[in-house]
């Protein structure tokens, strides 16, 4: 007898507008296991912060999470993942753990996405699609961290597959397409995920820091982290990290974000 596994479809649709002197969450549709925290103002100014919460603890095979976030009318918001996204082992034939994220930033708005780590368990299959749309008056920072697995359990590169696609559109035109497809095998990793943890960041804005060499040197001081930043065409920045040290990786990603978003 085939075992029956319960699957979940989480939904989160959040809209942010500036109303008066503060950015407000003007609509919030949430369906378990995804939830959003109330709007917080940790810096005491107009900028809103919202935590994204997954009450199920992770994405199981057959689960599907859909997140849509809109920032409009000069909204200024930080979206913070509350905890690591755990991808559980695939127990249903031909099914994957799926997640779609759509971010739309327009009309003078700012949206910064602060990531937590995605941890694919042994035998997991994960498919993620991220779509970011930004207009010329707005800016968006999005970042992602992928772990090789549960290090404490010696589950390094034991997932079945990670298929993560990211589309960036600027003023309606495709600016970047980045599909990462990993199927660990016994092949040597030189040139692939050489150093385990992988971080990536995208900063899409009409005005980006000009001195990339300074950023490259400032964020590449530790020999345990490989880092590089590059300019997209015609606008925007993309950065990548490979590291064996997750804490160091996160530290450097935060430093990078502070550096580029400060301008």
């Amino acid at each position: 007898m085939t075992p029956h596994y319960q699957t979940l479809k989480g939904e989160l649709q959040l809209s942010f507008y500036k109303q008066g002197k503060k950015t407000r969450m003007t609509s919030c549709y949430q369906r378990s296991p995804l939830k959003a925290s109330r709007t917080l103002y940790p810096s005491g100014n107009e900028r809103a912060s919202v935590y994204l919460v997954d009450t199920s603890g992770g994405i199981a095979c057959g689960d599907y999470n859909q997140i849509v976030i809109t920032a409009d009318h000069q909204a200024s918001v930080d979206i913070i993942q509350q905890s690591a996204t755990k991808i559980y082992p695939a127990r249903i034939r031909d099914k994957k753990s799926k997640q779609d994220i759509s971010i739309i930033v327009s009309n003078g708005s700012q949206l910064y996405w602060h990531p937590e780590t995605t941890i694919p368990f042994a035998g997991s299959r994960f498919q993620q699609s991220v779509t970011i749309r930004v207009d010329a008056s707005s800016c968006c920072y999005f970042a992602d961290i992928l772990s090789p697995g549960r290090e404490k359990y010696q589950e390094i590169f034991q997932y079945e597959s990670i298929d993560s696609t990211l589309h960036v559109y600027y003023e309606g035109k495709r600016l970047a397409y980045d599909r990462l497809y990993f199927q660990p095998s016994s092949q040597e990793m030189l040139g692939l995920l050489d150093d385990y943890y992988f971080g990536s960041a995208w900063y899409i804005a009409s005005c980006i820091p000009r001195d990339l060499a300074m950023i490259q040197q400032a964020d590449a001081v530790d020999p345990n982290v490989r880092f590089a930043v590059t300019a997209l065409d015609p606008i925007g920045l993309h950065a990548r990290w490979l590291s064996r040290d997750l804490c160091l990786l996160k530290e450097q990603m935060q430093y990078f974000q502070a550096l580029v978003c400060a301008d």
């Binding site: 298929d163 495709r174 600016l175 970047a176 397409y177 980045d178 599909r179 990462l180 497809y181 990993f182 199927q183 092949q187 040597e188 990793m189 030189l190 040139g191 692939l192 995920l193 050489d194 150093d195 992988f198 990339l212 060499a213 490259q216 040197q217 590449a220 490989r226 880092f227 590089a228 930043v229 590059t230 300019a231 997209l232 065409d233 993309h238 990548r240 990290w241 490979l242």
Partner: protein, 230 residues
């Protein structure tokens, strides 16, 4: 493939055919400076991963798509879309620029020799910046016009791309010519395997598994001393 086609294929891949292959490492120089490519084994592993995890799921697919698109319609509209997609997929600034430079240099050299109104027209729109003119796109277009079969087109593209890298590694590491020739010989069967794999792929299969190579390509821009442009 007739004798004339074979000769033309050999001609465009002659080391004296000036498209700038010898000036681009597409990130490999970063690995060489980090001493991660230092002998025949590490060079082979790197080139195998570049072939399998980058070319075979990137430019190789664009070459195939251009060839097949032209086989259905001679309009450039779909080729523009492929060229723009190719541009968006090349994230590292130097690799992106290197690909367009090689594409333009290829057209500069090949068009006067090809006697093809279609290729001339493509060169005109590239020069006029109506499209980017990435090397993989122009190569697929040229190969289709010359009547090369699709498998030959893909395989020759893969071979020349990897062999170019190996020649550059021989100079940069440095390694002996004999070593370079041996590594190329070892990679030949893999070019055939990846050609067959690409024939089964389409745009939905575009991806990049070689994030280390791409990161190295991004970092190359900031190396203190460099032999290569990318």
């Amino acid at each position: 493939m007739n004798m004339q086609q074979l000769l033309q294929l050999m001609h465009i891949h002659d080391s004296a055919f000036p498209i700038g292959t010898y000036t681009h490492s597409f990130g490999m120089e970063t690995y060489i400076q980090q001493d991660k490519i230092k002998d025949p084994d590490t060079l082979f592993t790197y080139c195998y991963n570049y072939l399998h995890s980058n070319l075979s799921c990137g430019d190789g697919i664009f070459v195939k798509e251009v060839w097949q698109t032209l086989a259905q319609s001679k309009s450039f509209d779909s080729i523009y879309t492929l060229d723009a997609f190719c541009h968006a997929q090349k994230l590292a600034k130097e690799s992106r620029a290197g690909s367009t430079k090689m594409g333009r240099q290829f057209l500069e050299t090949a068009v006067p020799l090809a006697d093809s109104p279609m290729l001339s027209q493509w060169k005109e729109v590239v020069i006029a910046n109506q499209t980017y003119g990435h090397y993989a796109i122009s190569y697929g277009l040229y190969a289709y016009i010359k009547g090369f079969s699709l498998p030959v087109t893909i395989c020759s593209f893969l071979y020349s791309s990897v062999a170019g890298l190996i020649h550059n590694a021989v100079r940069a590491v440095p390694l002996g010519q004999t070593t370079g020739v041996r590594v190329i010989n070892d990679i030949l069967s893999h070019c055939e395997v990846e050609t067959l794999a690409i024939l089964e792929k389409n745009l939905d299969d575009l991806s990049n598994q070689a994030v280390g190579i791409e990161l190295a390509s991004m970092a190359h821009e900031f190396l203190y001393s460099r032999l290569f442009i990318s």
